[in-house]
Amino acid sequence: MRRQVTLTTILGALLFALAASAHAAEKDYILTAANPNKLYLIDLKRRAVARAYELPDPAVGPSFIEPSPDGRIAYVVANQARDIIGIELTSGKEVFRAHMPQVKNERVVNFGLTVSPDGAKIYSYEIPVQAKLDRYEAQPNRIAVYAANGGLDAKAEAVFINMPRRIRLLLFSKDGQHLYALGSNFYTLDPETGRIIAAYPLRQWQEPDASPYDTLNFWPTPESSDVFTAVVVDGRAEVARSYQNTDVTALFHLDLKQGVFTVSPIKGVQDTLFAVAASPDKRFAFGGFRTLSKIDLKKGALVKRVDLDRSYYQFNVSRDGREVYISGAMCDIVIHDAGNLEKKAVVLLPDCADMAGAAVRVVRLDLGK
């Protein structure tokens, strides 16, 4: 028995070595950031930080991160969400920066960022306020479109004004035909014109004896499944109206390949789900906060849950569906087995850098190229 295991391990290692040489050095990494100005790529096979970057001045408090579709550029929102900074991960160079104000005395924060599937355009959901001499004047929220090759002082090449307020995430359909905006409601937009093609209710969801859906999602994690999955919470007349005691939580799915949007209730989830991610085969979702829950999406039911060592913000699934990456706040990224949910490994960021609310994404790229 012992010999067999050893043999299998050796065979596996050989096969892996062969595969690695055949496909050069394209690997999966976790891309994340930490205070005050760090950006990291974590090699998921080696369970170690592969590359650490410092965002060039001025840049503090990295928060949202959107990787380019080829994984080579990280677009990082920083400086209290007032700047979008593009870092080329192979060279570490800053290749893009947009400071969003369009007129003097405008103060703008970004609250949603996505990149078109061809990597050419960056879409930024912006909240502009003009600081005049004796007053502030809130402006209509907008989506600004920047050319990815706009350089270090990128200016918007298109602006869609009068966008719905309270949008938190922008996402693209895989075919680039639709831009999705998710906030307290959900919208499909024409990325060329900003026209709202469809508006789906979440807040106005009507169900007997239930409150409208509440959704506040900070992190998209569709990398492994091409499905954006998020938690929506509602209060039912028969249960307490709180995250802690909500008996019925629903999951929102947006299939970025097929353009299909669904909301499905999940039974038996007693724990807070701060964020969730779907497995590549779309059979399961993984999420939690102080616990890791595995949810069967077909049955709409909890499969298993385990306690975590602390509270975490984000949950990602590996591209092969075998691992769950749990992260956010503080400096440890925990890797659990997606099958039995057992803890497999921990990766610590150098000097215990604080991820705080920075996004955690899974990217695939060849760092040697």
Binding site: R107, A138, D214, Q244, N245, S311
Partner: protein, 539 residues
């Protein structure tokens, strides 16, 4: 239209000074020193008008359309300094607050319902307000902070623009994202606030015309510190400058020590008394309001580094021949028992009477303080009753009871905050208040009466199942024998499940013995994360 009178005066003075400086140099008598308020008018005219441009009538854009309390103006100036680059010397800053609170303040009737905010009273649960307005405003700060300002609807609208300018993501919060927050703020909310709290009111116009009061003289004070008891004394107030006073207080503390406290006080808007100084080398602050009678002030004094700990006080002129009992140190008098009580007051002369069925034996007395033994007959009528000293009456000041029927723990809903090395903890003080069910013997009916604060043994327990699972009662903090909950340290606790912080959801339980009977009462205490003192309210 709304040119503050002070501004006009300063403009004239400045013009005169300009003329004077053109003349030949010669010895002139030194001009009288500027009052703080005049200096404030100058500061506002010089500094604020750089951005708040003056209209033809001299009014300053935005600024002249707002009325606030001293604390409200303080917050405005602090914000101008921290976010808009205004630089004022401490004296100019103080003067600007004085001028603005005097000329664009609130009348006593306008602050009366919201004194708790000015006095930083802890654990006040605001009520009686439309739920939507509460969600719109009071999910982040006390509604009192809104209600202690006066603006017309358009100016309230601009305030919401300021909100988004300073906190662009506030629309995303719970109780904001469940509605069209911005659209509602700009719409009905601004309209409603402009109608509830408009700039121009007859109350303020009349108050502005009323004469100023001289606070100099001798005052008698009695303060009550929950959990600790009564402090009392006399204070002599002398004028230092216009509306600025020096206070020399001789105080008998709750634990019986005699101390002298010297501090400064300033009067805003002719009635807002604000004192500050040190006691035992610790900074304290006090906020009080002169009452309509012109001889009484009520307010609260608290530690600057722990505003939740303080004394609720009443101050009465002791140099006007007033005769008044102000407090009784023990409210509940048991039938068939003898109880020693102390009546604290001013100018108290004449016979002490506690009404039918109570024999009063005076053991010591002065005009300020009378100690009596109250011998309550076994058949004395039950219920609240007056305390009389000569012709002076303190209404419903004591209660005769035969047994305690229930215990109420106050405050019923409280918050304490964990402390860190940077941020002081916020404790919570509880008291057990005994009640009798009255003639019908049924608790919660109209004939119930309060017996008063009683001694209790204190404990905490998990509030619910989740708190029990997390063993919150073992981590969140400790309660002292005097009912003060002292929270633990902030930060993750590796001993706890999930490495959770010491936050907790607790029941506070008071156990009271009444003869052979043991009664308990409960309150709900949430122990939560630290918050810098600057964010803990203040109007």
């Amino acid at each position: 239209m709304r040119l503050p009178a002070g501004l006009k005066a300063v403009a004239v003075a400045a013009a005169l000074m300009a003329l004077a400086s053109c003349g030949e140099e010669k010895e002139t008598p030194a001009p009288p020193p500027l009052t703080l308020r005049d200096l404030g008018a100058e500061v506002v005219a010089r500094e604020c008008s750089l951005c708040h441009r003056a209209a033809a009538d001299g009014s300053l854009s935005r600024l002249s359309g707002i009325r606030k309390t001293p604390e409200g103006w303080e917050m405005t100036l602090a914000r101008m300094e921290s976010t808009r680059g205004v630089k004022l010397s401490p004296q100019d800053h103080r003067a600007a607050v004085k001028f603005l609170a005097d000329t664009q303040g609130l009348a006593p009737s306008e602050t009366a319902p919201y004194r708790y905010e000015l006095e930083r009273r802890p654990n006040v649960v605001e009520s009686g307000r439309n739920a939507d307005l509460t969600s719109m405003c009071a999910r982040c700060h006390a509604f009192a902070r809104v209600a202690l300002q006066r603006r017309d609807a358009e100016e309230w609208r601009r305030l919401f623009h300021t909100h988004l300018g300073l906190w662009p993501t506030l629309e995303y919060q719970v109780l904001a994202r469940d509605r069209d927050w911005w659209e509602e703020a700009q719409g009905w909310v601004a309209t409603a606030l402009g109608s509830h709290f408009p700039y121009d009111t007859s109350d303020w116009r009349e108050w502005s015309a009323a004469p100023a009061v001289d606070f100099q003289g001798r005052w008698r004070f009695v303060g009550y510190m929950p959990g600790e008891g009564f402090a009392e004394g006399v204070m002599t107030v002398t004028r230092n400058a216009v509306d600025e006073y020096l206070v020399a207080a001789e105080e008998q503390t709750a634990d019986g020590a005699a101390i002298n406290v010297n501090y400064a006080a300033i009067i805003y808007s002719k009635y807002e008394w604000r004192g500050s100084g040190k006691r035992d080398n610790r900074d304290f602050y006090e906020a009080a309001a002169l009452q309509a009678d012109g001889v009484t002030m009520t307010g609260r004094s608290y530690w600057r580094d722990a505003p939740e700990m303080g004394s609720n006080f009443v101050v009465v002129r002791a140099d006007r021949g007033l005769q008044r009992p102000l407090a009784v140190t023990k409210e509940g008098l048991k039938r068939g028992a003898s109880t020693e009580i102390t009546i604290l007051g001013v100018g108290m002369k004449g016979e002490v009477s506690l009404g039918d069925g109570i024999a009063v034996r005076v053991t010591s007395r002065s005009e300020d303080k009378i100690v009596v033994m109250a011998e309550v007959a076994a058949d004395a009528p039950l219920g609240r009753r007056d305390v009389r000293v000569g012709d002076a009456v303190m209404a419903q000041a004591v209660a005769v009871y035969d047994k305690i029927d229930r215990i109420e723990v106050t405050p019923g809903q409280a918050t304490a905050r964990l402390g860190s090395d940077k941020i002081a903890p916020v404790s919570a003080q509880f008291e057990a208040v005994a009640y009798a069910s009255g003639g019908d013997g049924i608790a919660g009916t109209d004939d119930d009466f309060r017996i008063g604060v009683v001694a209790a043994a204190w404990d905490v327990a998990p509030y619910d199942e989740e708190a029990s699972r997390m063993k919150d009662h073992l981590y969140a903090g400790k309660i002292t024998p005097h009912g003060r909950f002292l929270p633990s340290e902030a930060g993750g606790n590796p001993e706890r499940l999930y490495g959770a912080s010491n936050a907790g959801d607790l029941k506070v339980i008071a156990t009271v013995a009444d003869g052979d009977v043991t009664l308990t009462g409960e309150a709900h205490l949430i122990v939560t994360k630290p918050l810098p003192p600057t964010q803990r309210g203040g109007a």
